[in-house]
Symmetry: C2
Subunit: 489 residues, 2 copies
C-alpha cells in the first residue's frame, strides 16, 4: 500500500470508529504532516481518497469535514453533480496506475471451480451452443484451404469480416470491411487500439468505476489515467470529460457505452452523440468497448457511439466471447482511420487469430442460427436478473442499493459507507462465494463500499443461498462497525 | 530515410561508381560536415553504416578508406574477428529501431498468392497433416468441458502443457509444467517475455542479422537495440556480446540458437553453454527463440540453451506453427523464474489462446502420430534443400556464397558487395518472385548485399525457373554496376 493509502485508511478507521464524528473538522494539512511525518502531497492524496470514498467533504475555504454518508451515489436517483471546484480537484492530476496485484488476487478467488461465481466476469458457458459451434468448427477446419494460413492473416478471414459487416448493417451502420480487424477477443482489440494511439507517458481518459483491464493496459503501457466519473444511472459525466479535455493532455478515451462494466449503465443516444461530437472537436480517438451490446433486454441493439462517428475516430471493439463462443478468442475492432496501424500491431504481436476458429465462427454465423441463439440467451439473462433482484430484495438490508441494467449480466451494489468491500470479499471467499469488490474498478482503489455481482448463471439454490449469506455478512459487518462506533462514542 | 542514411547512400554511390576508388581515403569529418552541412554525429553514423555494408574500413588513427570488398563475410569460412577497436565502435551506441515500414512493404509482396514464395517466412502448408489435425480439433471441441473456458485460462490447457513437458523430457530437459505458459504462437510468447523483463528505454541485445520481429518488438516497446554480429557459419559473436555486456546497460537478450532466422546457423553445444554462463554472470535473461528446433536434419534435436540454464534465466519460446499446425496460433514459453509475470501479461493482453485449438493439438499429440509426421517433414525439407543447393549452383554466378543450414528452411545468400538487395527484391517482385532482402534483418538496414531464401516448399519447375531468373538478375545487376565503375574509372 502507498503511504497516502495507509494514511487514508488510518483516518477512515478514526471516522468509522466514531473518534472523528460526522460533521467534525479534519486536522489541517500542517497538523497532519507534523503528526504523521508525511509530505503535504501525501496528505492531499489521502484526503482526496477519503473524499472519493464519501467519508469526508471539502467546504470552500474552510477545510475538510467528516461527511454524513456524503458522496454515496444512489443508483435509483441521479447523483448530485459535483461542485466544479471539487471536480477540478478530482481531475487536477492524472494518476499512474497500480492495480494488477489487487485485480489478480480477486480473479484467483473467482477462478475456484467450487465457488459460487458472483464475482466472475464471465456468463455461464452452459448458455452457449457449444455443440453446434463445434460442428461448424470441425467442418470449417476440414474444408479450410491450406493457403488460408497466409491469406487469412490480418485483417482476417474475409467470410467472417463480411458476416460482421452484415451485423453492423442490420443496426444501420455501413461498416467498411477493410476497417475490420479480427483479433484474439475484444481484449486484444482494445489493447491494440490503445497502443495504436498512445505513447508511453500519454494521458488516457477512462470511466470510474470502469473495467479493470483498461487500467491494467494503462499500467502496462506506462500511460497515465484520468478517471471520469460514471454514475450507475446516468453514466459517464460528460461535463467532467469536457473539463478534463480542457485541463489535461488527453490522447485517447476508453469507454464502455452499453451495459457498462461494472455498473451496467447504458448511455442514452443523446449522450452518445454528444460524446462523439465532443471528442471530434478535440480530434481525440474513442476506444469503444461494446462487448455486451448484443445482450440487450429491450427489443433493439442500443446503438454504439460508432454509429454517430463521421471522422473515423471511434474504434469500435467487440467479440463473440460473451455472446456465442467463449474460449474461441475471436473478437474484432472496426478501427476507422487507425485500421492500418492496428492491423500492423496485430501482425507484430500475435500475427493472427486462430485460422480454424475464424472459419468456424464464420460458418456458424452463416448456418448456425446466431439470432435465434441470441434471443434465447437474452431471455435467460433477463429472467436471471429478475431472480437476482428478488433474492437481493429478500436477503439484503434495506440500506443497500443496486443498479437496474437493461442488458448484460452485471449488477452494481452500493453498500453503507461503513462497509469495506475488500473485507466483505475476503469474508465471502471464506464461505465459497466470490464477489468483485469496488476497488478493482478504479485506479485510486475507490468505491470501497461497492461490489459487482454477476447474474450470468442459471438461477439455482446455491446462488439463492449465496445471496442470503452475502446479506447476513453485510448486516453483521454493518452492526460490527456500528457497535465499534457506539463503544467509541 | 534518416539524414545519415541519405549521406551514406550518396557516398556509397560515389564508391560503386568508382569516383571513390578502392583504397582511396574518405574526406575527414570536418570536410564532410562543411561540404554537406550535416552534424559530425550524422557523418559518424553514415560512416558506420558504410563500414557495416563493407564499403569502407577504418585504419587506426588515420581515418576511413574505401575497402576492397572488405567486411563481406564468407559463409564457407569463419569471418575474421573484428579488431577490438572497430567492435567497440560498433557497440558504442544502442540504436532506436525504425524497421516496420521496410518489413511490411517486403511482407506485402511475399503475401501475393501467385508469387514464387522464396521470400516467405512460412513453409508450405501442404507439408502439414491438416486433415488429421482437423479430426482432432473437431473431436476435442465436441468433448471440451464448458468450464474449460475458465479452467484453461493461462497458463493454459493442462493436457497440452503435459504433452509439451514430455517433449522436453524426451530431449533430457526436466521442464516444470508450472513454468509453461501457452500463447498465441511463439510470436506472442517472445513479445510477452520481452515485456516481462524490460521497461521503455531499456537496451536489448539482438543478433545481426536477426529475426525482424525482434526489431519490431523493440521499436514498438520503445526499447533500444544493440546488434551482436551473427556469422552465418559460426553464429553469434560471444566476444562481442561479452564486450557489449560490459559497455552497455543491457537488460535482456533475444537470440535464436537453432537454425537461426535468417542465416540458418546453429550454435554449438559449447557456445550455448558459454552463452548461458555469460548471461548468468550478469544475471541477464535470455529470450530464446527456438521455433525451428524440431526441424533438424541430423538425427537429434540440437539442445537449446534452455538445457544448460540453472538459474531460470532462459525463457524458451517455441510453437507448433512451423512443425504441425500453421494458423492454429498455439505456441508456448518455458519462462523459468519469469513465468508468473508472463502469465499475467498474457491474461492482460489477450486473455488466453484458443481453448478448442489447445485441446485439439493436445489430442493430436496424444493420438495423431506427431513424431512420424516430423520425420516425414524433416525428410521433405532436407531434399528440398538439396534441390535448392543444386539450383543455386546451376544458376547463380560463382561469386555468390550461401549458408549450409542443418535444419529449418532458410538459406542466407551473400552477393557481391556491389549488388543492392533492395533493388534485387524490387526487380524480382516485378517478375513474380519474392525474396527477403538483408536490410529487413538489421536495425541499421545493413546487409545490403544479402538475401534470405525459403526452401520450405516442395520443389517445382516454378521454383527452378525462379532461381534461374534470380541468377540472371544478379549477373546483370553486377555487370551494370561493374560497367558504371569502368566508365567512371
Amino acid at each position: 500500500m502507498k503511504r497516502y493509502e495507509v494514511l487514508a485508511d488510518a483516518i477512515a478507521r478514526e471516522i468509522r470508529s466514531g473518534n472523528l464524528p460526522v460533521g467534525s473538522r479534519l486536522p489541517s494539512l500542517r497538523q497532519i504532516t507534523a503528526q504523521h511525518g508525511v509530505s503535504q502531497s501525501t496528505v492531499f492524496r489521502a484526503y482526496y481518497l477519503l473524499e472519493e470514498w464519501g467519508l469526508i467533504r471539502a467546504r470552500e475555504r474552510s477545510g475538510y469535514f467528516v461527511a454524513p454518508g456524503a458522496g454515496i451515489s444512489l443508483p435509483q436517483t441521479p447523483q448530485p453533480a459535483q461542485a466544479p471546484a471539487q471536480r477540478a480537484a478530482a481531475l487536477a492530476q492524472s494518476a499512474k496506475v497500480d492495480i494488477s496485484d489487487l485485480v489478480f488476487s480477486v480473479l484467483e478467488a473467482a477462478k475456484h471451480p467450487g465457488f459460487v461465481p458472483l464475482g466472475s466476469a464471465f456468463p455461464s458457458p452452459r448458455l452457449f451452443p457449444l455443440q453446434r459451434l463445434a460442428k461448424s468448427l470441425g467442418q470449417a477446419s476440414r474444408l479450410v484451404n491450406a493457403w488460408s494460413t497466409v491469406v487469412d492473416l490480418p485483417p482476417g478471414n474475409e467470410q467472417l469480416r463480411r458476416q460482421i459487416a452484415l451485423r453492423y448493417l442490420a443496426i444501420g451502420i455501413a461498416q467498411p470491411i477493410e476497417e475490420i480487424v479480427v483479433t484474439n477477443g475484444a481484449l486484444e482489440a482494445l489493447n491494440l487500439c490503445l497502443m495504436a494511439v498512445t505513447r508511453p507517458g500519454d494521458v488516457v481518459a477512462v470511466e470510474s468505476p470502469g473495467f479493470y483491464a483498461a487500467l491494467q493496459a494503462i499500467e502496462r503501457l506506462d500511460l497515465r489515467a484520468v478517471e471520469i466519473p460514471a454514475n450507475p444511472v446516468t453514466g459517464l459525466d460528460l461535463d467532467a470529460l469536457a473539463e478534463a479535455l480542457q485541463t489535461q493532455p488527453i490522447r485517447a478515451c476508453w469507454f464502455m457505452t452499453n451495459f457498462q462494466n461494472p455498473t451496467g449503465v447504458t448511455l442514452t443516444v443523446e449522450k452518445k452523440k454528444a460524446l462523439v461530437e465532443l471528442l471530434a472537436e478535440h480530434d481525440i480517438p474513442l476506444i469503444e468497448d461494446d462487448v455486451y451490446g448484443e445482450l440487450h433486454f429491450d427489443s433493439d441493439y442500443p446503438l454504439p457511439a460508432r454509429a454517430f462517428d463521421k471522422k473515423g475516430l471511434v474504434m469500435h471493439c467487440s467479440s463473440f466471447s460473451k455472446t456465442l463462443a467463449p474460449g474461441y478468442r475471436i473478437g474484432w475492432v472496426a478501427a476507422g482511420r487507425h485500421a492500418d496501424k492496428v492491423q500492423r500491431l496485430k501482425l507484430m504481436t500475435t500475427l493472427s487469430a486462430s485460422i480454424p476458429d475464424q472459419a468456424g465462427i464464420a460458418d456458424y454465423l452463416q448456418h448456425g442460427g446466431y439470432d435465434k441463439h441470441l434471443r434465447k440467451l437474452r431471455g435467460a439473462l433477463r429472467s436471471q436478473l429478475a431472480d437476482m433482484n428478488a433474492a437481493l430484495t429478500r436477503w439484503l438490508p434495506p440500506n443497500v442499493r443496486w443498479s437496474q441494467p437493461s442488458g448484460g449480466y452485471f449488477l452494481w451494489l452500493e453498500l453503507p459507507a461503513t462497509i469495506d468491500a475488500m473485507q466483505l470479499h475476503r469474508l465471502a471467499v471464506e464461505r465459497g462465494i466470490s464477489v468483485a469488490p469496488g476497488p478493482i474498478f478504479s485506479a485510486r482503489h475507490g468505491f470501497r463500499h461497492c461490489i459487482r455481482l454477476n447474474f450470468g448463471h442459471p438461477w439455482s439454490k446455491e446462488i439463492e443461498e449465496a445471496v442470503r449469506t452475502l446479506g447476513s455478512l453485510i448486516e453483521h459487518a454493518g452492526e460490527a462497525n456500528g457497535q465499534a462506533g457506539d463503544q467509541a462514542g
